[in-house]
Symmetry: C2
């Protein structure tokens, strides 16, 4: 999410959109302070006036202007802003005449075939996601093994020579090099690939168009980036990026073409619209979760929890299919890689190991303890988010150049290595090297022969393996001091790491922090009670701690419970994990939002939550709508359309289409809705009434023309319209959506919100008793209301 | 579902609603063939005419009349009818002035408290559902143990004396007695408690009001009934009824009162409306599944798959909470009952036992075999449904008297015992009695000492235990002949049993049939291949067979996969089970619908599926809407309202409210929507304008008055309105919903459908360009379109 926020900083500093920024610093302000530009044929464009002015909004306008004038160089608190630069996706089908004609032509068999294609695509998505997960896993393992061997040889050599500082240097240099490479490709090639990508996918599924988020380039950078960040020893996981990767794959596969590679397979053309694409992206995200955690059901629930608003049985079933195929593919190929073909015991990238029910029972009286741990997790999570929040603000202000970002990433890698080395140096936690050693990379270092340094092992292993060791290693493998020091160090390192310009996830570091302090809790409990046998297994507490910490940071609920259940392969722990996650969420929410929501807010994204704020019944559509609305006539002059689209001060995307009835004095009635993208295609193909009459157009415009242009519609500036053509007329009847959803002015905000969210709308027309357009509700009009500390608050809209 | 269909038969025979049936045999027909009744003040009731007549519908009218005239005594195929007697539930909030005022008065803290109450209620629902499951389990075990001891003693006594026929008689008599008791309470006290209740709950969640389905009496009859049917040795399970029980509990607990017991706790009054009640009933159904199968996630998915249309994150999380509490409660109390407190290994009523991953691996080449088994399951399931369908039709026609139903149930019980006895008598499948015998009730019968009769054991055990044995017993426990005979017999017995007037589920019989033929497949495969070791475990095939058979009968998909995964505690089998269920569904759907859908259809319930039929884009709101619509003025004469409500020929439930603008010649514009139930409360409290002016009313009508009357609003006949009062006026402004959702006439059916389903609407007003009412879309208008063999078909509407 760092890039979104970065953009905010750039544009405020006048680097990119300075000109636009000066002219129209804030939309609201501009609308009310200056008269609107006169169009060349202004009389045909209806500017339907605002019927009522709300006091609240005037106050805001003043505040906004103050903030812009008072501190033009300083960035206002971004989470109080809602950026106007984000466009929405259309999750409502545009049922215009072309579309209906096509649908009516289709036979029942054709719909069957479409349904089968959907299944095939979901299968493909699952398969490819599984393959990518497999690739990441194998590459990380190979490179990490290489690094380990290099360093170990070096340590062995120099421990005898006494020059351990050289080992440290080598270690730090190797890590920094890896991270540098990972950071360079992210910072210079595709900044949107930074982080886990989960906030971006959440936004996409919610209906916000995040530029470049589902492109092939993003996928490549993401995958290569995550390999190098993990090998570089950063406190990151390779699970989060899988979700983003699955989503990108889904967006690509479902369209049957790659715009980046300029390759069109001419298949799946029916799916080239936002509604269908979203469905597949949900499946991709689910497949990603499934491959990451071996949790197909958890993946489905993740997709539903984060994205979908309308429950569709067939869609869910397809998502589940993609998830299953994904985990199965990963499992199958990893079993071949491990030379145990057919052994399907690695369903995910992370494997928590099997918790045996008998060994891991819990008692009723332990539940309060678990809940207390949940509260600790919530508190620590909120602290983590709080630190990361300020760090992100700092980064937005000062670390926004790509080269600075690369340097920061390298610095983190070097510090990581140094801190680890210091801890190892002072650690005295030597453990015997058993024959059935679960650690893959034991380091003897300063320990006696036949022993290994527990601290070193924890740092040298991949975080996934450390989590597993903390869950399953027998009692006494770690001493309290090691765990305590490790928790504190790793907490700050992980916090610093999240938000760097590297592709990396926060799941595993969170689990690791939680597992460490959870195990510590278990050890301390065992030492305080006399009946030690009851508390014998600290692994149980490590699991609860991991859940609490992760829940405290990301605040996921249902899906996380199921993911944890599936990853541990144990249903018994469902109830405690659920209680812990619930407590962590309640406690955490009291202090601070979840990490993903925080970054979405910092990006000023107009994100719509599941329900309207509780106390928003006193607001009605009249108050929230944007007004005046630029309307178009059903048969409109080309010049007017071009001018309307070229108007950078408004930059509207949807235009109600109206018809003038009888006399000129009577206002026009709503008869449809047309989108900017549709108008652009019409202009590009010069679908003018005069041309149609003179038979100059060879063929009727078809749905295919719109699909070919999707999703990268050209800007209006690239379309040349001659002066003669400006005088032509365009007939929008066939292309507009003739039945847009409308609400009366008195509809309450929750009711508008429910309609908007349930149907995935982009524009909702507000009409009066006579079906005349009085306003338009868009995403930002709804997203700006939220419940703050002082009741209902309104975010400012900013043209960032 | 049998009772709904039964009703159809009664009314067609003129027992109940003969008079109404003669007067208005079919709504559509009556409207077009006769002039509408003249109201006493007809001029103020707007009968807005139908704008276009569709040819299709005229044809149907003719067909309908033919069918009624041609064979008045014969029942038409019920699945081609849609009954008009079912009312809908209001899952859209009625946001009238009263409601909005209340919401606006509420502080943020008040909303918090409401949220907390919701959680408390869900916890309670889970707890009570768990308790009920526990009660059923313990009672069944005690009574079955008693029965077993009685019969065993008897057999031991008479085997020596050679009079086995007396044993048979005793067995049959015992079973018949139990079943008789179970059938009597169902048939005579509460017929809606028959069957599993799943179709009814599906309908409720879908928005159809099934009378008496969530009453306390239903719950008591259901619970007692299921105990006696299971003990009576019928081929039934106790799992299905748990879902219904949970739903009833939820409906009761969430309302804070019991109308049957006339006890109002004055709590949770805010939740006394359909929207909130539905949410809790979802939670109850999920808790029921969770307790039945130990599958909390499966429960949530079941609720979502069957009921919810709008995905709400907080709601889902609450549902999950209820599920977790439910399985935990059951587990905890059963562990106490089993004298192993704290041992949480019985999460559900049925326990499939633990499948160890190592022993139960599958290979890639087995997947085609699994898919083939899925196809067999689908075919057998369709055959099962086909037989049951004709049986149900037969029952509707001839077995509709309660005493006949009881006799049929007793007959089934007796035949059950006889067939089992015959099979046991001719069975030669004697198995050694091992020391670690998993069978609880081994019967030696005609076997040598130290051995037991496998067939007898299969019949004597509860079906749950038999399923477990088929899954886990070592190779060679059953021989092929036993399994084959058992499958065939049990198949027909189970088919005959489903639909009897007893409270019983079809899950376990289906699983048992499937497990039997699945195990048979495993044995046959092992015998045909030389490398026997590969196919050594027939338990694996039993599991797949069970899934296939159950999937073939009920056609559940996602939730069933998760339920099977959770019940087996094994994630590895997720993919094969999913593939099997998918195949079973595809194959089964080719022949016949799922059992629950079939019974819903036989009940002529206007059930709305997830999506509109694929080829319905050529239909628009104009064609599907009901027209003319009875509208009311905003300030309406009491007499008119009473007459409108008393009009039994239309029996409308929602009335658009209109205002007359300027001249009388101009038609009226829509300004709101009011429900019959609201009007009745208004009439009851005599909220007349004249009374308000003369200060005769002590207080303003409040939301509480509506809530107190909910959900059993009195009929209009019970409200006395004097001749003077008829001349009074009523002001509906405050009570009507001022912002009903509307669509233009040209909106396509899928678009109308999506709006209707996503928002859980009951009435959708169709307006013209000037916002004048032209029609009303209700549930039956949408539910009657479905994809049949010859493309899109339309069901007939019948006043049954």
């Amino acid at each position: 999410m760092a890039n979104i926020t970065k953009k905010v900083s750039w544009s405020s500093r006048g680097d990119e959109s300075g000109a636009a920024g000066e002219e129209t610093p804030l939309l609201n302000g501009s609308e009310q302070s200056r008269p609107l530009r006169q169009m060349s044929s202004g009389s045909t464009v209806f500017q339907i006036g605002r019927l009522s002015t709300v006091d609240l909004e005037e106050e805001i306008t003043t505040e906004e202007q103050d903030s812009v004038r008072g501190r033009p160089k300083e960035i206002p608190h971004n989470e109080k802003l809602l950026s106007l630069k984000f466009e929405s996706l259309d999750y409502d089908n545009i049922e215009n005449q072309l579309f209906l004609e096509e649908e009516r032509r289709m036979s029942f068999m054709a719909f069957r075939c479409l349904e089968i294609s959907r299944w095939v695509i979901c299968g493909l998505i699952g398969f490819l996601t599984g393959l990518i997960a497999c690739f990441i896993d194998i590459m990380v393992e190979q490179l990490a093994g290489l690094k380990y061997r290099l360093i170990k040889e070096n340590i062995v050599k120099f421990t005898e020579a006494g020059g351990l500082s050289i080992s440290l240097l080598l270690w730090a240099a190797l890590n920094s090099f890896c991270v540098m490479f990972g950071a360079i490709i992210v910072a210079f090639i595709e900044p949107i690939a930074a982080g886990s990508g989960i906030p971006q996918i959440k936004c996409f599924l919610n209906g916000v168009k995040i530029p470049r988020v589902v492109r092939l380039k993003t996928l490549v950078v993401k995958v290569v980036g995550v390999i190098f960040s993990v090998v570089g020893g950063l406190a990151v996981g390779k699970e989060g990026p899988m979700i983003h990767s699955g989503a990108v794959l889904a967006a690509g596969v479902s369209q049957g073409r790659s715009t980046s590679l300029k390759k069109d397979f001419k298949i799946f053309e029916y799916f080239r619209r936002d509604t269908e694409k979203r469905d597949f992206v949900s499946a991709g995200a689910a497949a990603g979760v499934s491959a990451a955690f071996g949790a197909p059901v958890g993946g489905v629930l993740f997709s539903l929890e984060e994205g979908a608003s309308f429950w569709n049985q067939m869609l869910t079933w397809r998502i589940f299919f993609a998830s299953m195929i994904s985990t199965f593919t990963l499992n199958f190929f990893l079993s071949i890689y491990d030379n145990k073909p057919g052994d399907l015991s690695n369903p995910g990238l992370i494997n928590f190991g099997r918790f045996e029910s008998e060994a891991m029972e819990y008692n009723l009286y332990e539940i309060p303890l678990f809940i207390a741990m949940g509260a600790i997790g919530g508190g620590l999570g909120a602290f983590f988010n709080f630190l990361n929040y300020w760090l992100t603000i700092f980064r937005i202000r000062y670390v926004h150049r790509p080269c600075l970002q690369v340097i920061e990433a390298m610095l983190v890698a070097a510090v990581n290595a140094t801190v680890a080395f210091i801890l190892i140096y002072f650690s005295t936690d030597c453990q015997p090297l058993g024959p059935d050693q679960s650690e893959e990379y034991p380091l003897q270092l300063f320990c006696a022969d036949g022993e290994f340094n527990a601290m070193a092992t924890t740092f040298f292993n991949t975080p996934e393996k450390s989590v597993r060791s903390l869950f399953h290693n027998p009692t006494g493998t770690y001493n309290s001091l090691t765990l305590g020091l490790f928790t504190v160090t790793y907490f700050f390192l992980a916090c610093w790491t999240y938000g760097l310009a590297v592709s990396a996830g926060v799941f595993i570091p969170s689990l690791l922090i939680g597992a460490a302090w959870g195990r510590l809790c278990g050890i301390l409990l065992a030492s305080t009670t006399s009946t030690a046998s009851m508390w014998a297994d600290p692994g149980k507490y490590a699991l609860i701690g991991a859940a609490a910490q992760l829940g405290g940071i990301v605040r996921m609920t249902l899906s996380l419970t199921v993911i944890m259940m599936e990853a541990t392969g144990n249903v018994t722990y469902g109830l405690p994990i659920m209680l812990v996650l619930m407590t962590a969420k309640i406690v955490g929410d009291y202090f601070q939002e979840g990490l993903y929501d925080l970054h979405i807010k910092l990006g000023s994204v107009p994100f719509l939550h599941g329900e309207a704020p509780a106390t928003s019944h006193w607001l009605t559509a009249r108050e929230v709508m944007s007004s005046p609305v630029t309307c178009l006539n059903r048969i409109e002059k080309v010049g007017t359309i071009v001018d309307t689209l070229s108007n950078t001060s408004t930059n509207h995307n949807g235009f109600p289409v109206v018809v003038q009835v009888s006399g000129d004095d009577e206002p026009a009635k709503l008869c449809g809705l047309i989108l900017r993208s549709q108008l652009i295609v019409l202009l590009k193909h010069k679908v003018f009434v005069e041309l149609a009459r003179s038979r100059l157009t060879q063929r009727k415009l078809q749905l295919k023309d719109f699909r070919d242009a999707y999703p990268r519609f050209p800007p209006i500036q690239s379309i040349h319209v001659s002066q003669d053509e400006r005088e032509c007329m365009m007939d929008l009847t066939e292309f507009m959506n003739p039945t847009p959803y409308t609400v009366p002015q008195d509809t309450s905000l929750p009711r508008v919100f429910k309609l908007f969210r349930a149907l995935g709308l982009r524009h909702l027309v507000v009409v009066d008793d006579d079906n005349r357009v009085v306003g338009l509700v868009t995403r930002k009009d709804l997203a700006r209301y939220h419940v703050g500390k002082h009741g209902l608050e309104e975010l400012l809209l900013a043209q960032t």
